[in-house]
Subunit: 145 residues, 2 copies
DNA sequence: CCTTGACTTGGAGTGCACTCCAGCAGGAAG
DNA sequence: CTTCCTGCTGGAGTGCACTCCAAGTCAAGG
């Protein structure tokens, strides 16, 4: 669905993007790497998807690998249709620490199952669309309306 | 008009939506059958997704099988992520008649390809999510995000 | 007759997920 | 020093796809 493709980035995990410097990244760089806009990054933080990002002496955000890892997950969850409200729930659990791991795992598993079910729905819907396409393919006879 | 909105039996699986005969249905019944609200049905007509539905002597809508078939297709297109603006384009072409059949077919094929690509993306995204789930599974010392 | 209830209209309102903006601040270059 | 650039904040605005509503109409039932 996303139509954002910029040069680099992509997929396989920001984990690979993190490696170079362990030095923290400014918001502009993270925007480049993730494809999210600086506004969106700040908004994610505001609504609690990302824990308070550390700042430099001038108050500017300094994203560390942990933040990038969280963002990677958030992006995949969004891309697979999880509503922001549920990601907030996840973030809340993550913030609460280790005892919530089972609940977080369950949340992700339920989401995965919903996505799988959604994919199945898509295939079913495509069937109908394919049939419609087939009705056009190589035939001009029609029943007048 | 063409093959599009009244192909024979096979076009769009309306069969599910057309329970019994050919008597026209009131909006309430169509809402029940489709799961769309009466408001949405009227809105679809207003924005041109559905051609003017015929009315009874009191001005009430009377949905005929042709309308239900169109609705079936529209619902599948929406369910697969086609924006309303593109469905409007389709509806406009369908209204224009037979000469636009190739363009309609192309529109549907391009949409199908986008959906297939989207499904591929979903599988890729699930990979990341599965890895995250795996990091919880049977381990309390993973990389919490 | 009146009431009920399904339906009509155009327009306003909603929820979601951003997205934009005005106004300001600190650091670097010239 | 000034200028430029990047970033900051809170709040307002946007686009999409509905969803709700007030006010009115019609047909049938009591």
């Amino acid at each position: 669905m996303g139509v954002n493709d910029e040069p680099d980035v992509e997929t396989c995990g920001i984990d690979e993007l993190v490696p170079d410097g362990d030095g923290p990244l400014p918001i502009s760089r993270v925007a480049e790497l993730t494809g999210l806009s600086p506004d969106t990054l700040r908004w994610y933080e505001r609504v609690g998807l990302l824990e308070e990002v550390t700042r430099d002496s001038a108050g500017r955000r300094q994203y560390v690998p942990r933040d990038l890892r969280r963002l990677t997950l958030l992006m995949r969850l969004r891309a697979t249709g999880m509503p922001v409200s549920e990601m907030q729930h996840y973030a809340q659990l993550a913030k609460a620490g280790d005892p919530t791991e089972p609940e977080r795992k369950q949340l992700l598993e339920e989401h995965r199952n919903r996505v799988l079910s959604h994919i199945a729905d898509l295939h079913r819907d495509l069937e109908i669309i394919n049939r419609k396409i087939a009705s056009y393919r190589g035939s001009q006879r029609s029943v007048p309306a």
